[in-house]
């Protein structure tokens, strides 16, 4: 190639590339939300005089362009690969790949939040649960299992647990760390697969003094293409997950209710699989207060679980061993109003939280 040809080719390719990007973006209809990132994408801002003159309009326009740029997901993947392969970065925005799993590298321990959680649980025990059989457990994040091998940073787990121990009074600790392994979690999400909850529920039954029901489970429904919450954040090329829903005659007979409005809930809401967060399939997603009743139960014992999103997939399995299971999510309801909806009366009680929520416990009330 002669120099004059090169000098012509460079501008032609450069301008051609930019123009193609512009035209393709303009011709592509705006997307409402990103499945991979599970968030609504910004729409074209409407010009407003004050926004134009204080600069807000242009900032919104920038954000809009970032969200609606042509082949956005592919460009994000290019960026993720550049960082991990070319720059050899060990994580991207705190997410890293370990085998087939995407892991979030949470490692900054928040002692104040853990003390707050412990004190909150103690207050709830004193206020509502006096004299009841109370247990608590912590579900580790995936990073617990992988960081020692992959040399990423992780929480100081002994300290995390000891901070809780030091601030919770009147409850017995159930260690679930050894019961779980990396493969019990979705590859692209932080949640546990429901299949893995079977062993976890057996472990909890042992500590709660409940005879584990022996009715086997079958896979009732399979949903392929589950892009977990880390999938979009990492933007790395990875196969999506599959959600499998477990069923047996006991689960089929379960009846679920939302307590504040007394609405009936599906145990498995298949419409939820098509929502932004397919994990909403379990009991309709995030809610403050729910109860699952087990009409086939041979016991009249009841269980109250204080927990986060992890408990929704676990709850149907726990309900197999109880007459009812009440789920309380303190992210959405304050413990001060619980008496309005729940009759605390000698139930078994379990506080079961993930490390992620405990380390950010100021969201609990």
């Amino acid at each position: 190639m002669t120099t004059p040809i090169k000098h012509m080719l460079i501008p032609v390719l450069f301008v051609g590339f930019l123009f193609t990007g512009m035209i393709t973006t303009l011709l592509t209809p705006d997307q409402a939300y990103s499945d991979a990132e599970r968030r609504r994408l910004r729409q074209r801002p409407i010009p407003d005089q004050s926004d134009i003159f204080d600069g807000d309009y242009y900032q919104k326009l920038e954000q809009y362009s970032l969200d609606q740029f042509t082949y956005r997901e592919r460009f994000r993947m290019i960026n993720a690969l550049t960082r991990t392969r070319l720059f050899n970065q060990q994580d991207i925005n705190g997410i890293y790949r370990h085998g087939d799993h995407l892991i979030k590298m949470d490692y900054r321990l928040n002692p104040a939040a853990l003390r707050y959680a412990g004190n909150l649980f103690s207050t709830i025990i004193e206020t509502h649960l006096e004299g009841m059989a109370i247990h608590y457990g912590v579900i580790p994040d995936k990073n617990h299992f992988t960081a020692p091998q992959s040399h990423h940073l992780q929480y100081d787990y002994p300290r995390l647990i000891s901070l809780l121990h030091a601030n919770i009074t009147g409850a017995t600790y159930i260690d679930v760390f050894e019961t779980l392994s990396l493969d019990d979690y979705y590859r692209t999400d932080h949640h546990l697969r429901q299949e893995a909850h079977v062993d976890l529920s057996r472990h909890l039954f042992d500590h709660l003094g409940i005879k584990a029901p022996g009715v086997p489970h079958t896979v009732y429904h399979t949903h392929a293409g589950f892009a977990g919450s880390y999938y979009g954040q990492a933007a790395l090329p990875l196969e999506k997950d599959t959600i499998r829903l477990l069923m047996n005659p006991t689960i089929a007979a379960l009846e679920a209710f939302e307590l504040q409005n007394e609405n009936r809930l599906p145990v498995y809401d298949l419409d939820g699989l098509e929502s932004i967060d397919p994990y909403n399939v379990f009991l309709g997603g995030q809610m403050a207060l729910r109860r699952i009743e087990n009409p086939t139960s041979t016991t009249d014992k009841e269980l109250i679980v204080f927990g986060d999103s992890y408990m929704t997939a676990l709850a149907p399995l726990l309900a197999e061993g109880y007459a009812s299971v009440t789920l309380i999510d303190l992210r959405f309801v304050s413990h001060t109003v619980l008496d309005t909806y729940i009759d605390f009366n000698d139930q078994d009680v379990l506080f079961l939280y993930s490390t992620t929520i405990l380390n950010d416990a100021f969201m609990l009330s």
Binding site: M1, T3, P4, K6, H7, M8, L9, I10, P11, L13, F14, V15, F17, L18, F19, G21, M22, T25, I52, F53, D54, G55, Y58, L61, E62, S65, L66, F69, R72, F75, R76, M77, I78, N79, A80, T82, R83, L86, F87, N88, Q89, Q90, D91, Y107, R108, L109, H151, H152, L153, A235
Partner: protein, 467 residues
């Protein structure tokens, strides 16, 4: 608007290129001026008036100084021009600094002024001043066309972060310029390389700096890592911006002066400042140092002159004491090299001189990057083991490993090593042919990587926008 944004790359620039190269020569300045105003208005809507007012004031003062040349009125209009320029700069940039210091010294309770610093004011004020001073000195011809002059001040490639282009440099190019494929190709090359330096290298290093600032386990290693990362970041950020400015200028037929010449290979502080932000150094030399007498004065006056220039250099960078101390630190080191070390420094092995320069530069940028003098001193204390922190923490070690790739790229990229290797290889005809074939593809590849980074919404502010 910033160069490293999707809206600039994929809307503003291609539309401007098409319009600019479609219109006849006599409309090209009008097109550039209009697009420059849009460019500035997009990022700083209200202060666009200030930019227009400032440049028109420069134009008017130039005309008046020229009209009354040789009389006392010319001097009066020069002073008026300087007062107007420095008053605006002083008000918008330094008011709160003075109020805070008055409050501290006199235990007063004056309220701070609720204004934000107009983007690029430090740069365009200095350009306007250079013009009126040069008119007064008779070193440039007066610009009678208001549009051409205002286009010079507002010209978007160099408007908000330099290089500080003296009017004399592009006086002829304002009237008419030659556009060649060779120049456009060169401009695209510079622009793309600058874009990669900014988006791929500086922005990634900026993340490391943020990790350091949010460290949960501070350690001596982490303090050094933060300092070195910022030193590399600011070079790739600012020199990347200058490359983009020079490249864009060349595309539109302007030849702006170089602003960086591999400053991190310098072997003395004197040499470092001949390679770092060259246009600012030249400005202070021409309009402050030489008028004060330069170095053709006695030793005491020389010390005074150098300290004044470096005090102003620090103060120009920011209205805070850490910037002033940073400037004075360099002033003192330059004095030492000039008056004490003299030729002795030449006898020290090059590698040791290089280590000395980089040591000073890193220390300087730790002060520079701090929110306050106290924070700067705290960070320096951390680097030298004066804080109760361990030598190494797992967090520091992790981020050192995680960012070692980009640090290595940064270290190598801040030297002329790659350029020299390419130059050497291109002496072989077949390598030359291969690189000629690959070069256009390489720029497209860079654009792909940059777009990926931008689309992902990564960290993206230009450091020098705040000056």
């Amino acid at each position: 608007m910033v160069f490293s944004s999707l809206n600039f790359l994929y809307y503003f620039l291609p539309i401007l290129l098409i319009v600019y190269f479609s219109v006849p020569s006599r409309f090209k300045n009008l097109v550039l001026f209009s697009f420059s105003l849009v460019f500035y208005f997009y990022g700083e809507p209200v202060y666009s008036i200030l930019l227009i007012g400032s440049s028109f004031s420069g134009y008017l003062h130039g005309r008046l100084i020229h009209a009354f040349k040789g009389t006392n009125l010319a001097k009066t209009f020069l002073i008026s021009s300087i007062v107007v320029g420095l008053s605006l700069l002083g008000f918008f940039k330094y008011s709160n600094f003075f109020i805070e210091n008055i409050n501290t010294i006199f235990k007063a309770d004056l309220g701070l002024i609720g204004i934000v610093l107009p983007i690029g004011i430090s740069f365009y004020t200095f350009q306007v001043l250079s013009y009126t001073i040069d008119i007064y000195r008779g070193e440039v011809a007066v610009q009678k066309n208001a549009l051409d002059f205002m286009m010079y001040v507002a010209l978007f490639p160099q408007l908000i972060a330099g290089p500080i282009v003296r009017y004399e440099t592009i006086e002829n190019q304002l009237r008419g310029r030659l556009h060649t494929f060779s120049d456009v190709a060169y401009g695209i090359r510079r622009f793309t390389i600058g874009l990669a330096k900014k988006v791929l290298v500086a922005n990634t290093l900026a993340e490391l700096v943020v990790h350091f600032e949010n460290a949960q386990q501070p350690s001596v290693l982490f303090f050094w890592l933060g300092g070195i990362a910022f030193t590399l970041q600011i070079y790739f950020d600012f020199s990347g911006y200058s490359d983009m400015a020079l490249g864009l200028g060349r595309i539109f037929g302007f030849k702006f002066p170089e602003n960086f010449r591999y400053p991190y290979i310098a072997r003395s502080i004197t040499e470092f400042w001949r390679r770092w932000h060259i246009s600012l150094g030249m400005w202070f030399r021409r309009y402050v140092y030489i008028p004060l007498g330069g170095n053709r004065v006695d030793k005491l006056k020389l010390i005074r002159n150098i300290l004044i220039v470096w005090f102003l250099t620090g103060f120009w960078h920011g209205a805070a004491w850490n910037f002033i101390i940073w400037g004075l630190l360099y002033g003192i080191l330059l004095l030492m090299e000039k008056l004490v070390l003299k030729e002795a420094i030449e006898r020290i092995p090059g590698i040791i001189r290089h280590v000395y320069v980089m040591f000073v530069v890193v220390i300087g940028f730790v002060l520079f990057n701090a929110e306050s003098l106290a924070e700067g001193l705290h960070n320096l204390g951390g680097m030298f083991g004066l804080l109760a922190v361990p030598l190494v923490s797992p967090e520091a070690l992790y981020y050192l490993i995680s960012y070692s790739g980009i640090i290595l790229i940064g270290v190598i990229g801040s030297t002329p090593l790659i350029a020299k290797i390419i130059e050497l290889l291109r002496t072989y005809p077949h390598v030359r042919r291969a690189t000629d074939m690959m070069e256009p593809v390489f720029y497209i590849l860079v654009l792909l990587l940059v777009t990926g980074n931008l689309v992902d919404g990564s960290f993206n502010p230009f450091i020098y926008f705040r000056f």
